[in-house]
């Protein structure tokens, strides 16, 4: 593929190529390309704000999102900015102040905001974004009801990461693909005791029950950051379900898997999780090899698409390891992708309007916008929900990387795992 073809593929500009991770394709004339000949573009840098968890237990995900956003911003700036405008990113701790953070950003004159990670925070924030009218692209905050009930007709509020229903339907399909429908007769769940955990369990079982004749034998909801999950593990050892589903994330994954290994739970059941891989930087070899768990990695896994066909994923891994000494997870892509979606859509709007677009014009060009990142191709759907391929694989240890990897990846494309426009998620699953 030569440079011109590639540029065309990734959206036609140097910026789009940079964000897709094809920096090698950018020539010396990239600056000229990027400014796009727009006449009415301000000189000063674009002020952007990101709210994420920078401390506390949720920082396991929060910092990944921050690093991802920072990498995207630096790639944009290296490629000459958006229509010649550099981006300056201000990061704020999410805490419980989602709305305050956003209004503060707006009053400081930020042209775009990213985050939050928390789904409760996102539900609080989205209506405020609609009222204030400054585009917000959420990194996560993946609760399914957001664009189905909370803000059914959004204008300025967007979400990059795949939402819960996609994650759980993918998990159900993965379970059936790996084990075969006839081998999935009993299922148990250990999910975090808050809205996200309950939602994921509800959608996963609804989907799995449609695909198999499965029977639920146990459901346990340990609190977030619980330090003892042995009651749930003991119960699973007693029931020996074919599958144990878990939407635990970060430190809770480590606690659960360590205690499960200590009690030989992995001899009795197959663990399937939506975001087990979010603990990639904290799991030990012994545990990973015992568990042979099936895990999702949201919409990004650095080894997929296959590096031989698409090298940017691998490059992102190298960048993250060099700069921050981490294995990037799906949350790294949340930050990266939120910035990439806004930047590529804004540049498109600049080229169309010939000047700097208004918030409304940016919002309109984000709707239905398609773009590349190192994770592949993404669409920001008409309903403001990001749609991209979900990756699942068997978690194994790589001594070469020195961390868990996903083996034998299956990918699930959005139409297979998300409801068509206008249909609510559970109704859609009911209709299978």
């Amino acid at each position: 593929m030569d440079r011109r073809t590639m540029l065309k593929a990734v959206g036609g500009t140097a910026l789009a190529a940079a964000l897709a991770g094809c920096s090698s394709l950018l020539g010396a004339d990239s600056n000229q390309d990027a400014s796009g000949g727009a006449s009415d573009v301000p000189d000063e840098p674009i002020q952007a704000g990101l709210q994420t968890f920078t401390e506390g237990p949720a920082a396991v995900l929060g910092l990944q999102a921050q690093y991802g956003a920072e990498l995207a911003v630096s790639r944009i700036n290296e490629a000459g900015g958006i229509a010649g405008r550099q981006i300056e990113l201000d990061v704020k701790h999410e805490a419980d102040a989602y709305v305050e953070n956003y209004t503060q950003f707006v009053s400081e004159g930020k042209e775009v905001t990213f985050g939050p990670i928390s789904s409760g925070g996102h539900a609080a924030l989205a209506p405020e974004v609609e009222a204030q009218g400054v585009v917000n692209v959420s990194t996560d905050g993946t609760v399914t009801t957001l664009y189905e009930e909370t803000v059914p007709d959004p204008t300025y509020s967007f979400r990059f990461q795949n939402y819960d229903v996609m994650e759980c339907v993918s998990a159900a399909r993965e379970t059936v693909n790996r084990l075969g429908a006839e081998n999935v007769n009993t299922v148990a769940g250990i999910n975090p005791n808050y809205a996200f955990g309950k939602d994921e369990w509800k959608v996963y079982t609804a989907a799995l029950q449609k695909l198999t004749d499965v029977e639920i034998v146990y459901e346990g909801f340990p609190d977030l950051l619980a330090d003892d999950m042995s009651t749930h593990i003991t119960e699973i050892n007693n029931q020996q379900p074919d599958v144990t589903f878990s939407s635990q994330w970060g430190g809770d994954v480590v606690t659960m898997m360590n205690q499960a290994a200590a009690n030989n739970m992995f001899d009795n059941t197959q663990l399937v999780g939506t975001v087990l891989y979010s603990a990639v930087n904290d799991l030990s070899q012994d545990i990973v090899e015992q568990a042979q768990a099936l895990s999702g990695s949201r919409n990004y896994y650095w080894g997929e698409p296959e590096p031989a066909r698409w090298s940017p994923g691998q490059q992102l891994l190298d960048d993250a390891r060099n700069q921050w000494d981490i294995i990037p997870s799906g949350h790294f892509m949340s930050g990266y992708g939120a910035v990439a979606s806004w930047a590529t859509a804004t540049e498109k709007a600049v080229n169309l309007t010939g000047g700097w677009p208004s918030q409304e014009q940016i919002a309109m060009s984000l709707e239905g916008h398609g773009f590349f990142t190192p994770a592949g191709y993404h669409v920001m759907s008409e309903r403001h929900q990001g749609l991209s391929t979900a990756y699942y694989g068997e978690m194994d240890w790589s001594s070469e990387i020195g961390a868990p990897i996903l083996n034998d990846i299956n990918s699930y494309s959005p139409p297979d795992v998300s409801p068509p426009p206008g249909t609510k998620s559970l109704d859609w699953i009911e209709s299978w």
Partner: protein
């Protein structure tokens, strides 16, 4: 003839300003009250001039301050420390959110009244059950009931679980104020001024209450329960009443909080740390005063908000302020400014003899040295034992 109308009166040769029956302020107090009132009314403009400060954050401070004023009735007069006042704050907030989200009630006044009613009922029940005990056991019981409510709300999808509930009723996406559907900016400012009006009235009511025979009886109960019982004060009933009144303030504050934030989640309104915050606000502002808790609320919320911009470890700020308070200003902000308070007496001794600064420095250094030697001594004892 006694003057029954507000105005200037003369008492014991001193001119005082009569606000209402039983409330007569010296000229100095009047001036301070006016400055305070002016400050509250000017807050939206102050927020507009200073980009680092947001009206909604200041508003939150005033609202939490109101809850702290309520809690202070209990702490100051009956000497009962409640660790579960967020329960009433949360009840108010969730009543408003539930009515708005599930039953589409749009009227501001209706939401407020309903919240106060429910907080009253909740306080009657919780108060009845926890006031059988005093001291530590009372504190723990209130804590337990608070956590019970938190767990209940967190676990039920009806309450929106951990995602909480939006307060965006009607086509206008926000409550109507006396039938008026307002645009966002106007709504923000109007709700703020309504809050100020409510706070002023609440303070007057509280003032009247603690300066009534009932307030005196509460003081007596706080000083010695048994003796209060002996002189014929129905202790149980009075304490219960005080508990309910303080909870009504909490419920009112919670409803206003829901109206400002337009989204209520269990963590920020019901978690036990929030009860601690409310208690801390009262102490920070000076719990031996009427206005102290209000000032404490504004200061603490502002401190936490601005702290987030300065450092990731903003939670530690609260700890540092608490340390400074306990060691340096045990009477709190307003308490220290009062006659005989730390700041006032320091200022007057400075006026008499500016050289006193030298004495302050040396006494500070001395106490540091003493503390250091003491801790070295303690470590020695810990490591080598007593010889």
């Amino acid at each position: 003839m006694r003057n029954r109308l507000p105005g200037l009166v003369s008492r014991d040769g001193e001119r005082k300003v009569r606000v209402m029956r039983g409330l007569e302020l010296t000229l100095r107090q009047t001036a301070l009250a006016l400055v305070g009132l002016l400050f509250l009314f000017a807050l939206p403009d102050i927020a507009r001039l200073l980009p680092a400060i947001q009206l909604s954050v200041l508003h939150q401070g005033v609202v939490f301050g109101l809850a702290a004023v309520g809690l202070n009735l209990l702490v100051r007069h009956t000497q009962l420390v409640s660790f579960g006042h967020a329960a009433f704050f949360g009840t108010g907030a969730y009543t408003t959110a539930l009515l708005a989200a599930k039953y589409n009630v749009t009227e501001f006044a209706l939401l407020l009244i309903a919240s106060m009613l429910l907080a009253t009922l909740m306080a009657m029940a919780i108060g009845y059950l926890s006031l059988r005990h005093t001291g530590l056991y009372f504190s723990l019981l209130t804590l337990a009931f608070g956590q019970l409510l938190y767990a209940l709300v967190q676990g039920q999808t009806f309450f929106g679980s951990s995602d909480g509930l939006p307060v965006r009723p009607g086509p206008n996406m926000r409550p109507d104020i006396f039938g008026l559907a307002l645009p966002p900016d106007a709504y923000e400012v109007l709700v703020y001024y309504l809050t100020v009006a409510i706070v002023v009235v609440s303070l007057l009511v509280m003032w009247r209450l603690i300066n009534s025979p009932f307030g005196a009886a509460l003081d007596a109960i706080g000083q010695d329960r048994t003796r209060a019982q002996f002189i014929g004060i129905p202790v149980r009933r009075y304490v219960w009443l005080a508990f309910v009144v303080s909870a009504v303030y909490g419920g009112m504050a919670g409803a206003l909080y829901a109206m400002v934030q337009q989204h209520v989640r269990p963590g920020p309104v019901l978690y036990f740390l929030r009860s601690g915050d409310i208690l801390f606000m009262a102490i920070l502002g000076g719990y031996q005063t009427l206005f102290g808790p209000l000032v404490g609320g504004i200061v603490l919320v502002l401190l936490q908000d601005m702290g987030r911009d300065l450092t990731n470890y903003f939670d530690a700020l609260t700890g540092l302020v608490l340390l400074a308070l306990v060691f340096g200003f045990p009477q709190g902000i307003v308490g220290s400014l009062k006659k005989g308070g730390r700041v006032r007496s320091a200022a007057s001794s400075f006026k008499n003899n500016p050289a006193v600064v030298g004495a302050w420095v040396s006494s500070f250094a001395e106490s540091l040295v003493t503390a250091a030697t003491q801790s070295v001594q303690n470590v020695k004892v810990l490591v080598f034992g007593v010889k």
